[in-house]
Each structure stands twice: as C-alpha cells, then as structure tokens.
C-alpha cells in the first residue's frame, strides 16, 4: 500500500522530468538560428557583429519557453504546491 504523500512526491518527480521535455523546442530553434547566422556570416563577413547580436537576441527570446518548463520543474521539486492539498 502506497501512502498519498509518497505517491504525490513520486508523481511530482516524474512531472518535473516531463516538464523538462520543453527543452527540446528551444534547442532546435536555437540551432536553426545559429545555423542561419553562420550562413549569413559566410555570405557577408563584414556584418559579423550585427549578425551575432541579432542571433543572440533571437536565441534568448526563443529560450523563454524552455525556461517556463524549467520554472515548472523547479517548483515541482522544491516548492511543491500539491503536498499541501493532501
């Protein structure tokens, strides 16, 4: 017999792992951005600094969704709101 608290903790750990799947999207997106930036530098090496700053800005914005997933995982692991509902 599993008591409720242990079940909630176990499911929270699994949920935190599932939330980090959100890291998949930003990874792909940042890779595409970096690839296109590399191609752009190859075509126009003079504009390297402009391209780099634009790429970093775009990558940082693309990263946001992954960080939302990370925030959910951290909340589930260290500030679990579900335990209090038992």
């Amino acid at each position: 017999m599993i008591d409720g608290r242990a079940l909630v903790l176990a499911c929270s750990a699994v949920g935190a792992g599932l939330a980090m799947i959100a890291g998949l999207g930003p990874g792909i997106g940042q890779g595409i951005a970096a690839g296109h930036a590399a191609a752009a530098v190859g075509r126009n090496p003079g504009a390297k600094s402009d391209i780099t700053s634009t790429m970093l800005l775009g990558q940082a914005v693309a990263e946001t969704t992954g960080l939302y997933g990370f925030a959910v995982a951290i909340i589930l692991l260290f500030a679990n709101p579900l335990i209090g509902k038992l």
């Binding site: 700053s53 970093l56 940082a60 939302y68």
Partner: protein, 239 residues
C-alpha cells in the same frame, strides 16, 4: 538515505536560499537571506569601483593607464550599444542602461566569489522587470499621450485582450528569462559540487564556472539590456 538505496551516490546539493538572520516586523516573521548578503557585497564592490573610477576620471591622463582604459572602454561600448538601437534618443537612456548592465553583470558574476547569485532569486529579477515595464509605459504615455491607450484597440477592437496580455507579458518574460538562466546555472553548479569527491572539487568545476557564470551571465546581461532598449524604442520611435 544511501543506506536504503545501495549503489546510489548521495548528493547533498545546496543551492537554495537560506535565512541568515530572523526578525519580526508588524507581526510577520522575516529573514535577512543569502540574497540580501550577496547583493550587499555586490553593491559595495560596484560602489568601490565607481568611486575609484570617479577619482581616476577626475585626473584623467592624456595617455590612459590600465584602469582608465577599462572604464573608457566600458562606457564607449555601452554608448555604442544604446546608440545602435535607439539612435537620437540614446542620450536619455544611456545612464539607465549603463546602471542595470553593471548591476546585473556583477550579480551574475558573484557566483565566482562563492556567493549565491542574487539574480537567481525571483524577488530580485521581478523588480528589475517591473522597472523596465514602468519605464516602457511611462515613455509610451509621455510620447503618445492618449493614443498610447487607444493603440491597444488597433488594428481591430476585438484584439484588445491579446494586446493587453502582450503588454503585461513584457516584465514577466524579461524577469523569468534572467531568473531561469541564472537559476539553472546555480542548480547545475550545486549538483556538481554535491556529487564530486573532495579532491576533485578543486579545479574541475572551474571550467563549468566559465560557462555557467561568466558566459551565460554575460549573455543574459546583454540580452536583458538589449530587450529593455528594444521595448522602450518600440514606444518612443517616430513612425
């Protein structure tokens, strides 16, 4: 714990915020936390550097020394960065950008001193985002007067809720981005320090500090300032 699960390595990871000193205010139990301590140290370091810089620039030499060179380079870099985004409005905002750039950079780098970075606390990054939000809205109202609010109903009135959410997402995403990046670095470093045996703790984590504290911290500082400028420029640029 490790007695119960043989074969598992027990990691005593320590990366949470701790209370250092407890006091009571209006019946509430409050703490001076590690964030306050780290921020106090960072503020003092910045103050010392700035006082030295003020002293150096007062007696600026024709041929600059090392310190004067660094200060001039820093100011020039920020000047160019702001000018490239904002154009002729740059003069009004360069002081603010310079300040938050230095503050966030030193906060992120404070992980190198063994402190818990203050920006890994949501209570620090949310006010930073809210300051930007207030600045963006204030600039919008000052520039466009009543049109600032009627712009929410453009191009069709039915888009009003989406426009409103778009406005309020600015401080949330700005603060969460900074917090998430620095927090993930702090968690990773905490786990690695917890896992490694004592003789490996010297040296090996230094390489990871370079990535998680220096590289990631500098990039996030740059991105925060860049996005702040872009959001402000959205409101005050002439059509």
């Amino acid at each position: 714990m490790s007695g119960q699960f043989p074969g598992m390595i027990l990691a005593d990871a320590d990366f949470m915020i701790h209370g250092v000193f407890r006091y009571t205010l209006f019946g509430q139990e409050l703490y001076i936390t590690t964030t306050h301590v780290a921020m106090f140290i960072v503020t003092i370091i910045i103050l010392i550097i700035m006082i030295c810089a003020h002293h150096t620039m007062k007696h600026a030499k024709q041929i600059p020394g090392t310190f004067q060179n660094i200060i001039e380079m820093y100011v020039q870099t920020i000047d160019n960065m702001v000018a490239s985004i904002m154009g002729k409005n740059a003069r009004r905002f360069v002081n603010y950008i310079c300040t938050i750039f230095m503050f966030i950079l030193f906060c992120n780098l404070s992980g190198l001193l063994g402190l818990r970075p203050p920006t890994a606390d949501y209570g620090v990054t949310l006010p930073l985002g809210l300051i930007t939000f207030a600045l963006v809205q204030g600039c919008g109202i000052a520039k466009n007067k009543g049109k600032h609010f009627t712009n929410l109903f453009q191009p069709v009135p039915i888009l009003f809720p989406i426009n409103l959410i778009g406005e309020f997402a600015v401080p949330l995403s700005l603060s969460l981005r900074l917090f998430g990046n620095i927090m993930s670095g702090t968690v990773m470093m905490g786990l690695i320090y917890g896992l490694l045996p004592i003789f490996l703790k010297l040296g090996l984590p230094a390489a990871l500090h370079v990535y998680f504290d220096v590289f990631s911290g500098a990039i996030q500082t740059y991105v925060f300032c860049m996005l702040t400028m872009v959001y402000i420029n959205d409101k005050i640029a002439d059509e």
